[in-house]
Symmetry: C2
Subunit: 360 residues, 2 copies
Amino acid sequence: MSSSLGRPLTVLIQGTGLIGTSVGLALSSAGWTVHLRDPNADALDQAHSLGAGSKDAVAADAVDLVVVAAPPAVTSDVVTASLDEFSRAVVTDVASLKEHILRQVQDHPDSERFIGGHPLAGRELSGPTGARSDLFEGRPWVITPNAGQDVAQEVVEHLINTVRADKIVMSAKKHDESVAVTSHLPQIMASATAARLMTLDSEALSLSGQGLRDVTRIAGSDPDLWGQIIEGNAQALDALLGEVIDDLTRLRADLHDPAADASTVATDLVRKGQTGQARIPGKHGSSAQRYVSVSVVIPDEPGRLAALFDAVGLLGVNIEDVSLEHSPGQPVGLATVFVIPASVDTLAQGLVDSGWVVYR
Amino acid sequence: MSSSLGRPLTVLIQGTGLIGTSVGLALSSAGWTVHLRDPNADALDQAHSLGAGSKDAVAADAVDLVVVAAPPAVTSDVVTASLDEFSRAVVTDVASLKEHILRQVQDHPDSERFIGGHPLAGRELSGPTGARSDLFEGRPWVITPNAGQDVAQEVVEHLINTVRADKIVMSAKKHDESVAVTSHLPQIMASATAARLMTLDSEALSLSGQGLRDVTRIAGSDPDLWGQIIEGNAQALDALLGEVIDDLTRLRADLHDPAADASTVATDLVRKGQTGQARIPGKHGSSAQRYVSVSVVIPDEPGRLAALFDAVGLLGVNIEDVSLEHSPGQPVGLATVFVIPASVDTLAQGLVDSGWVVYR
């Protein structure tokens, strides 16, 4: 198979949802021969019409790589069926949990042709119409090869390079433990926070602020999908949930006890969180450290936000992040623009000069 | 005192941090006579130089209203001292907890001149330089009067109207219970989630995504301030923490039990969160319901985001919300623009026509 790596491959994508269709779009535009399959004829038609690949049948021995982009619950079945049907193909998947699937596939006689994968490129959308050929560009794509899978790994890495993702190699166990912290626990905590709003009266809800909105944003996620994911990562989540329950129980006990200095327990928890939060890599996570903000008052009418960004553009300043702040019924909004420290004076003075109301 | 309500009042602001200075700026620009006090001479000088008010001494009987904008821990002391010193003034405060302070002030012989207040207009910044005269415009400002405080209430409402905030009248107990859900529990949950990142290795951290960033954003808050706030709202937080601990303990038990259908417990929790999250009022909280999104690919270089918003402005479309998505090292970003459903076709087609790569 290693001789294949200089050339575009022939790939079958099993499942034309958001991820499968996006893989198809990216590979097709790179000149690969892409075939698509999906039990849902509408999804298949949409993916095909978007240019993700062909709906035609493909000869089993022509397929170099099968990408299983099916729902998590059926992924391992589709993987084993693909190993059976395509006798010389490497098979990979995109499910958000890896150990589970590896365990179900490992007894297959051809399991050495399977390498688990997980592109971290979900969107709040789903289905082929949400697909993008650049969905994976610069995003982590984890693969979980075992020892002795070098040849299969080369094929999957060819896929990852072609869609311009960032390859991360780790064990399935390490992957599942990592996403338990970075993805699954945050989902549980957001949901548990938002669940308290179910019975809150509207007077109390009127005190909702941006903090609540941030913490609970992902609480809007799909319950059935997330139920499966949480169940599937039970072992890694067990220890984390234990730690969180301990923290909250200790805090609650100290709040109960008039003798204890509860503020120390609460302060310690917030301080630990502050330390942990500062470790999140990348643009958004570290904007407090790396960027400075300028806030600008904008009337809530067409064109004003555009005019602001136009003014910023004329100053030659690159916007690293932006947030809009807006209360219900408020006629005036506040745009906060994050830039590198070297740009902030140019930006603030330039905006003031062109008549904007600016707060640093 | 009711005769005073047709005219600008004479006010003393005790504490020239972010909130006190912003109140001073708003009232000064409305023609009120504003005097400032702060034990920190630098903060006082800054607030004065920003135009928030006078540093001169004021005759005790000239003061109509004292606004105590001191740190939470000393608020009740400053309130009672103000009641002593200014014999005809109404006194209010801006602390984020109300019952606590009410209890400490209620035995003062002039406590009927005190009405607790809480403007919900914090910023991630602090100090007088973060102050804005429009900080309170359209934002909730809670007051917690007792029966028989009509005259004092009129004075405080005059203040709230003058800074153009939205007055919300509720009991101190109701206020503290409400912010426990909408503000204090979210802070605890964000901190408890982020605390798990303290010991996570960088390989695992590289899998951080936007969900984690949203949930933990407020975990960057000041530990000492939040320690005080959490301690001060122990009673309301007790019940909430109990509910959360119950939810997490039930989930953990079901994840432990191979016989139980854990996905039901997990799915139920996520579903409860989804229902609760949908109840958050206002622009950001309900954007999933009220707005539709269009995603646009933007190269990460000066002027491209500006050019995008310029293009949107030319189409006459009002942007309701915007988010930037950007992975570390990724040369291309994705701006997601939220608009009302009636605008989405105009926006998407118009952007495509002017050469943007657009995903709906």
